[in-house]
Amino acid sequence: MAEPLLEIRHLKKYFPIKTGLLGRTTGQVKAVDDISITIQEGETFGLVGESGSGKSTVGRSIVRLTEKTDGEIMFRGTDLHSLQGDELRRLRPKLQMIFQDPYGSLNPRIRVGDAIGEALLDHGLLGKGEIRERVLEVLNSCGLSSYHIDRYPHEFSGGQRQRIGIARALILNPDLMIADEPVSALDVSIQAQIINLFRKLQESQGLTYLFISHDLSVVEHLCSHVGVMYLGGMVETATRDELFLHPLHPYTKALLSAVPMPIPRLKRERIILKGDIPSPANPPSGCKFHTRCPFATSECREQIPNMRNVGSNHYVACHWV
């Protein structure tokens, strides 16, 4: 196989807990605890998890909105966290991000056209005259019209704003697009429009996505590969079909069965997990899932399970699979 586009090796991100007047560090929140992900060119990797799973921190670490604690993030063979200053700035266009909140992710005082074209100008990638043309082209491919170019963000609805956010990232011709819950703030009918747009852009521009979401049905629809996170750790990764047809980790199974299906009177076996998601500041010992796992044994309480290949690139971190 060719060199992967992105390879995350043993990424760790611990946030210090500071208390008292002097801000002494009294503990750590292990937001991401030893995660490895490989994404090949053209894939859509879905990162799934509930709140506190650390999935967003992974995305933010890739674009250096968050500094890592340990590990490596290799992008086309370059360690992203070793880059500084201008080197990093010049690489940034290749790694773009779509944010969750369509209301907060656009500067209210900058016209849409300027917001989209600004990065081209700042990086000196195109001349002023050409930028407008390119902005129109991108607006168009994101399903917006040319007359939108001189409007301000407050004139747009949530779905349209998300399109603007996509256009802003797309104009830089990125190699990797990180989408952090891009549709979770949108209504169902608008959500479908945006998901289709992601699809369409991937086909026409050959984009690679890291798609971060809590919504399994959206991930199944859009992604070719899936990783499931729980409390900062990866519990299972596989291709989409493998994962959704043959989920192996008890957490993945529970997660899948918890998704409400729009089919009334559907008889299915439901696994309802006991208890709450533990705090990442004080995660359980051994397998982090043991407090809620229906199959937990003493071994699970003591030993941390490693990711094991169970065939056809299906990896699971569970003692009993």
Binding site: R90, L91, S105, N107, P108, E118
Partner: protein, 311 residues
């Protein structure tokens, strides 16, 4: 419980953003809302009137040379002297307008200086954080712990002690007022900047790889402007008031240069206070009307430009 729960409120907002017709810019919208606020509009009218009267009015006065004429001292209002004359026979109306020039200039200039200092230092502290932030904000804290008025009194007394020429005192008073006022402004600007930094659109600017200068000038500053405008407006009123207090006690601008503050000083003896109200009511009323009007206008501005600051 608010009128609408967040979900519907947001929806209402999203529905407002229908794109069939062009919506006015944020500034035009703010202006429209401001014009609907009757108190703010009347405040603006009063302030505008005061400025026009003080800066243009004396040009039409036959008494603008302030000649001393003991033969007509302390005359009550009449057709020749609408607001009477003072103890040196000068026309009170002309003096009030000339004093207004000084008071308003001191207010504006000290506001401009303290807004400049406050914005610059607040922005530096908020943007660079770390040690820069620590140094700037500790100085600000220090200045904030000393009550402003006593500080002004002491420095005013020192100025008198050192026999600073009266012509310069006006400028020194401006400088003193700015020094007392910038820490509060710097604090507001810094706070706003810190919260802006954490907005998703600033993260987006980082991911897009924009240069620091662009982030500061194109993304952060335009979002600070409404706050700066509001703070500046409200600050003028405060500055005028402080100047008046200082001058009233003879520690600010000194006679013969008239200011509203040192004109009220005329009321510090019982005879003038009881029997010659035309000496102190006009300057007193001027201070009162101007400061109230500026504050009403500033409150209106705040409501339309920065709803978060309400209450």
């Amino acid at each position: 419980m608010t009128l609408m729960e967040p979900h519907t409120a947001r929806a209402a907002e999203s529905q407002k953003s229908e794109t069939r017709y062009k919506k006015p810019s944020l500034w035009k919208q703010a202006l429209r809302h401001l014009l609907r606020n009757k108190l703010a509009v009347s405040g603006f009218i009063v302030v505008a009137f005061m400025f026009l009267a003080c800066f243009i009015g004396p040009l039409f006065s036959p008494y603008a040379d302030n000649k001393i004429n003991m033969s007509i001292m302390n005359k009550p209002p009449s057709w020749q002297h609408w607001l009477g004359t003072d103890k040196l026979g000068r026309d009170v109306l002309t003096r009030v307008l000339q004093a207004g020039r000084i008071s308003l200039t001191v207010g504006l200039a000290s506001m401009a200086l303290s807004v400049f200092l406050g914005t610059l230092l607040g922005a530096l502290a908020g943007y660079y954080r770390g040690i820069v932030d620590q140094i700037i904000m500790r100085i600000a804290d220090l200045l904030l712990t000393i009550p402003g008025l006593p500080l002004l009194f002491i420095s005013g007394a020192l100025l008198s002690e050192w026999k600073v020429p009266t012509d310069y005192r006006m400028y020194i008073v401006m400088l003193m007022l700015s020094l007392v006022n910038w820490p509060g402004l710097a604090r507001m600007i810094r706070g706003q900047l810190l919260s802006l930094r954490e907005q998703e659109f600033m993260h987006a600017a980082v991911v897009l790889g924009l240069r620091d200068r662009r982030k500061l000038l194109h993304h952060l500053l335009p979002n600070l402007v409404p706050l700066i405008i509001v703070m500046a407006t409200l600050n003028i009123g405060g500055a005028i008031l402080s100047e008046s207090v200082l001058s009233f006690f003879g520690l600010g601008v000194m006679p013969p240069t008239p200011t509203w503050g040192n004109m009220i000083d005329a009321a510090n003896n019982m005879i003038d206070f009881q029997q010659r109200p035309w000496l102190w009511i006009p300057p007193g009323l001027s201070i009162f009307a101007t400061v109230i009007a500026i504050n009403l206008f500033g409150d209106g501005l705040r409501d339309v430009l920065d709803p978060k600051l309400k209450r």
